[in-house]
């Protein structure tokens, strides 16, 4: 087996699109499940069938999130550039979630704790993005120092 054949075997973890796709699955799945959960929690007296449907949608979102997290931890690592992209995605998703939960709380006059939780998640995503950018900047600085 030569190096090119090995590279072909490693095509999945080496593909930046696959790495970002795994991050999208993790973030999108988690955010989707949270948004459906917010609707479910704040809707009074839902019929049983609707509750089952909500539960199914939450399970699907969590399954995608689980798959994304599994892929990122076991198969497709995020490198510095990917982490910045994933950081922006997380900030975008948690911003949408915060706006959505605030709108739902205002419209239904209940569930006021949910926008606070979403804001906390947004804060975490922002801190994560700042760290990812700092790590990437440090690596870029070192790369230039070494003449790269």
């Amino acid at each position: 087996m030569n190096a090119d054949e090995m590279l072909a075997r490693l095509s999945r973890p080496l593909s930046p699109w696959r790495r970002v796709a795994a991050a999208v699955a993790a973030i999108g799945g988690g955010t989707g499940a949270a948004a459906i959960g917010v609707l479910w929690i704040t809707e009074p007296q839902l019929p049983a069938r609707t509750q089952v449907a909500f539960a199914g949608l939450v399970a699907i979102g969590l399954a995608w999130a689980g798959y994304g997290i599994w892929a990122l931890t076991r198969r497709t690592p995020l490198f510095a550039r990917d982490r910045v992209v994933a950081g922006w995605l997380a900030v975008g998703a948690t911003t949408l979630l915060a706006v959505f939960t605030a709108a739902v709380a205002v419209a239904r006059q209940r569930g006021w704790a949910l926008p606070a939780v979403a804001l906390a998640l947004l804060l975490l995503a922002a801190v994560n993005l700042v760290r990812a950018r700092a790590v990437r900047s440090e690596l870029l600085r070192r790369k230039h120092e070494l003449g790269g």
């Binding site: 087996m1 030569n2 190096a3 090119d4 090995m6 590279l7 075997r9 490693l10 973890p13 080496l14 930046p16 790495r19 076991r74 198969r75 690592p77 995020l78 490198f79 510095a80 550039r81 990917d82 982490r83 990437r136 690596l139 870029l140 070192r142 790369k143 070494l146 003449g147 790269g148």
Partner: protein
């Protein structure tokens, strides 16, 4: 391009750097795995090593220490495959001072050493591969194997005696 620069470019996620890293180190990894395990599953194990390397690269804090880090991962994967062999208690080591490494006589013949590897226990085999065939310094061998330098010296000495004994036995048999 130095290893450090290449690793930094890999940590940034540059695809061409990742491909270059694999191209540069594919052969040494495959040879190490093949020498430790034999040819049967070497390619699959080498792939396993590379997956672990790619998983670990974003967390590699000292890019200049890439070589021992790579072999540490390769060794970990190999040890998983040779769990039974590594579980056997090690033969008591001789004093490290008696085991000063030399590059002379039989170990000068790398092909001869490579040919005899299969008959050695795993611990002796790995130090012989790392020190004599991969040309790593004693300190790096010790780091990779997770043992003190003195232990590496003892294992090297024992490995050389085993190889020498095998050569002599073959000579007498002719």
């Amino acid at each position: 391009m130095t290893d450090e620069l290449l690793v930094i470019r890999c940590r940034l996620g540059e695809r061409d750097a990742l491909a270059r890293l694999v191209r540069q180190w594919h052969e040494p990894v495959l040879v190490y795995v093949r020498r430790m395990l034999g040819p049967a599953h070497a390619e699959d194990v080498a792939q396993e090593v590379w997956l672990a390397v790619l998983r670990g690269l974003p967390r590699l804090r000292q890019p200049e220490r890439f070589t021992p880090w790579l072999y540490t991962i390769a060794r970990r994967v190999v040890v998983n495959r040779l769990r039974e062999e590594y579980a056997r208690p090690e033969v008591p080591g001789e004093a490290a001072e008696r085991a000063v490494p030399d590059h002379g006589d039989l170990v000068a013949d790398r092909d001869e050493v490579a040919r005899r590897l299969g008959g050695l226990p795993a611990r002796e085999r790995e130090v012989l591969i790392l020190f004599h065939l991969e040309d790593l310094p004693l300190e790096a061998c010790a780091e990779i194997c997770g043992v003190p330098v003195g232990t590496v010296k003892s294992r090297l000495s024992r490995a050389r005696r085993m190889v020498r004994a095998a050569i002599e036995a073959e000579g007498e048999g002719r």
